[in-house]
Assembly symmetry: C2
Homo-oligomer: 222 residues x 2
């Protein structure tokens, strides 16, 4: 079955792609430039992952999201928070309603190319507390897709990582030979990962708990 | 209350803006360039309507939707169907999952600027049969917004025209002094409306049924 995978270039989307590939899906990968400050590096990661899987690809210019603003990921004037993995607050990196923009594009593309599944690497357990990473959000999106597409269209959004802890995602990636060395997670820099933002902290803790060395470089001594 | 109005530049969105203005809303208008072939004319209509209401405004470059394709509105190789107002088929002008792109942007913007309502001029009665114009689609979208935004965010999508027939929309526009002379509905041309595409046919029938002269020019003799 033709399947679209949303590939940010991070670890979660890379492992999601590996899962879709392992299911034998005919892969079509979608990546968005939404004004994120580290986009040049993220896009390079996306292209490398898509090359690795010999996937059809679609790049989206959604930089209007950066103009709408409201997030430290797209606005250099809003500082990237230092990681606080025990807080239940929504961090400054939250981009208002972001995933709906990616998923809407994926649904439009799926309806045009006849893809039946859309894979997204949303993680609820161990997540940063973003509201659009919760299982009930994806249930609502699937209902929206049923109601908002042609009667003959059958598209399902699948979230294979949503119940996994981050270290389980690392192990799944290793098991499926996902090219984790090609991925990029840092919210702050674009050449060497900072090691101290939310996203780096989650990633490093995950590799430590999985007992595996992270193959990418960090600016801090680990 | 600050309220966002999605303004394509057509008659329905203009009357929707008039309704929001009549409710005393503090208006913020949003318009998308999504690769529609008649966009230069539509954008001019949007700007004129926003000027008329002295509204804050946001323009979105969503031309990636045109690259995704699948519609006669964005792909000159797909012919615009001649109107068939009795058919229940989804016409060639259907842009897959289009309204989700506009609404997602409106929700993101609303969360940033603190708007509590998003007005969209979707019409179900007398509509072209697009799945994303049905009341149950908007119910599902409101549920998605509740689940996908911050717990403190309160945003409601409202569809004041959804149950109205087109001639009732014309009458409502006249009653509220909506600047219908500034609007643009044609799917085919960009200087003088063709009068024969689905959108023109719906509009002309509506004015005829309302017993009012349409203030814009047509290429055909009426």
């Amino acid at each position: 079955m033709k399947s679209i995978v949303l590939v940010s270039g991070g670890m979660d989307s890379c492992v999601t792609a590996a899962i879709a590939a392992a299911e034998g899906a005919d892969l079509a990968m979608l990546h968005s430039s939404y004004g994120q400050l580290t986009e040049s590096r993220e896009r390079r990661a996306f292209e490398s992952i898509a090359d690795h899987y010999h996937a059809e690809r679609m790049w989206l210019d959604q930089r209007y999201l950066g103009r709408i603003g409201g997030s430290s990921l797209t606005d250099a004037a809003i500082p990237v928070s230092e990681a606080n993995l025990t807080s239940t607050e929504i961090p400054s990196s939250y981009v208002p309603f972001r995933n709906a923009h990616f998923l809407s594009a994926a649904v439009s593309w799926a309806e045009v190319i006849g893809a039946g599944q859309i894979f997204i690497g949303a993680v609820f357990a161990d997540s940063s507390g973003y509201p659009d990473c919760r299982p009930e959000y994806y249930e609502a999106f699937n209902e929206l897709v049923r109601r908002g597409t042609k009667p003959t269209t059958q598209i399902k959004i699948v979230t294979p990582l949503i119940g996994l802890h981050k270290h389980e995602i690392v192990r799944k990636g290793i098991e499926l030979k996902a090219p984790l060395n090609l991925t990029w997670s840092c919210y702050r820099n674009s050449e060497v990962a900072c090691g101290t933002c939310d996203s780096c902290a989650l990633r490093l803790r995950a590799f430590a708990q999985a007992g595996v060395r992270d193959p990418i470089l960090y600016a801090i001594t680990l």
